[in-house]
Symmetry: C2
Subunit: 293 residues, 2 copies
DNA sequence: CTGAAAGCGCTTACAG
DNA sequence: CTGAAAGCGCTTACAG
């Protein structure tokens, strides 16, 4: 032991990995690392798996092109111990991991033809909660600006909006649903449509913060006060939400917690005490009341 | 070959690594992955080293506590092929890598007692450029809100501001230098001081965007128009810069390019065609003209 | 309880 | 040019 200390001996990591077929390495495959959701997710995963001495191999699929396929092959080839998969539209690559028998946990609500652990925000409930908040503030004409039809998590949030409307005893009005494209401009355009209605809404739930910021732009440009004439709520709580004027009221998606939970589920699979059944965990959001609603 | 295909044989990664003592893995040690600079940096590094089949092991030092020391040990123990080190105040850990003989490249301007490849924004020049831009727009009383004294990169930007003032043939005025703390609030307070001068500045260069946004707050709160009464320039080009009103004119720090260059320098070291001397690379910024100046 | 051997799956150098 | 052997540095199972 003294000699180990004196010579600074360290066991050869590769030899250990070869012998045990374990590298204490987790691949984190992220949709787009420049979207602030993913760094927060990464931190959460690192916190969870780091305590058990696992380290993260980062794959940023957003860097472009057909990287995702190459990544899937690389992940398999490197024989990582597990994968946290946070790419929305790559079911095919999920199958690659599955065939290779690599333990994995998916992030984001999705449907599979096979059972798989996954962790997600409670997209349906958070939208319903936002509607109830607006109702509680006295609003009765509550509109929504959704994402493109049929794509998660926008579709799930739209369903939640509808549940919220029903829960509050309001009658659904088709024209109070405008469609955006997740961008600031798209939100502004959708808002312009809503404001041009003969009976314009007094509150708007936007499916993300960027569209909500665009909606504020459009409302102010149309001479409406926010929240005096129209209240506006977003979803995400990006940095800019607290920087725009009026500061955006929004639903915070706890990316770091989602990451932590994904890491914990994966650890349990790796330790073998997970059970054969997949687990689906919904992480609760928090409502952040600022000035826009 | 046919059999390889049929059985889906893949060489064992650990055995290859053991044999060659090469794992085609680069450690990226980042100060704080939730600061948007670092994800962009990570993408750049991935782009550079990915083309040579290297993969990134991510260490997010910002996750808290005394993680940095544990990370340094982990990086050494895992025998990564190289390190991109993007933590500002951890010279001690740099020494750890150096002693272990791991090739590395540092990000951010710094001083060492030993030679080391590093890549950084040209902090001095970008501040001087901003001053010249303001001078070109007719401003003659140009103030600056700096970071805390003596800390990079704030000190470097302050030096650049002073050079810019001299280059334009203006006389330096001590009271036109206010000190902030990199936050929005700190920027607002510093701005309030500047505006209370008997001879207030007509333009202010803030050492980062957050302080610039705070400066806009303070200017508007004091009843000044931006840029009509005071022009304001930031540094960084964070997302919020284009979202605030008036949209912030700023100097964009190209984090992704810095990452790409760091990756390329590291690859050259790994390939052995780097030469014994360290190289220092300054990456050029771009000036983003929006509405605030 | 201690110590030598076998084997993890490659790659490289050497013999046939 | 092809094929068997040695060795990378561990860990595990076995013999003494």
């Amino acid at each position: 032991m003294r000699v180990i200390d004196e010579l600074g001996f360290q066991p050869n990591f590769f030899a250990q990995a070869l012998q045990s077929s374990r590298s204490h390495t987790i691949a984190l495959v992220a949709q787009d690392i420049t979207n602030p959701f993913y760094p927060a997710l990464a931190r959460g995963v690192q916190q969870a798996v780091g305590s058990a001495d696992y380290v993260l191999l980062l794959f940023d699929a957003g860097a472009g092109g057909q990287l995702m396929h190459a990544f899937a092959a690389e992940v398999v080839q490197r024989r990582v111990d597990g994968v946290v998969f946070a790419v929305g539209d790559a079911e095919e690559d999920l199958q690659t991991f599955r065939r290779a028998g690599i333990p994995m946990v998916a992030v984001g609500s999705r449907q599979f033809d096979f059972d798989l652990d996954w962790v997600s925000a409670d997209d349906e409930r958070l939208a319903a909660d936002a509607v109830r908040h607006l109702y509680g503030r006295g609003h009765r004409r509550i509109a929504t600006i959704s994402g493109p039809p049929g794509v998660a998590p926008g579709s799930t949030r739209l369903a939640g909006y509808r549940h919220g409307i029903a829960d509050c005893g309001l009658t659904p009005v088709a024209e109070l649903h405008a469609i955006g494209d997740w961008t600031r401009d798209g939100g502004a355009k959708a808002m312009a449509t809503l404001l041009s209605l003969s009976n314009a809404p007094t509150a708007v739930l936007c499916a993300n913060d960027l569209m909500a910021i665009g909606a504020i732009d459009a409302a102010l440009a149309a001479g409406r006060r926010v929240p005096g004439d129209v209240a506006i709520v977003g979803v995400d709580d990006i940095d800019a939400a607290s920087l725009v004027r009026p500061a955006l009221t929004t639903v915070r998606i706890p990316a770091q917690e989602i990451g932590r939970m994904a890491g914990e589920l994966l650890l349990r699979r790796l330790d073998g005490d997970a059970g054969p059944q997949a687990r689906h965990v919904l992480i609760q959001h928090t409502f952040v009341v600022r000035d826009s609603a």
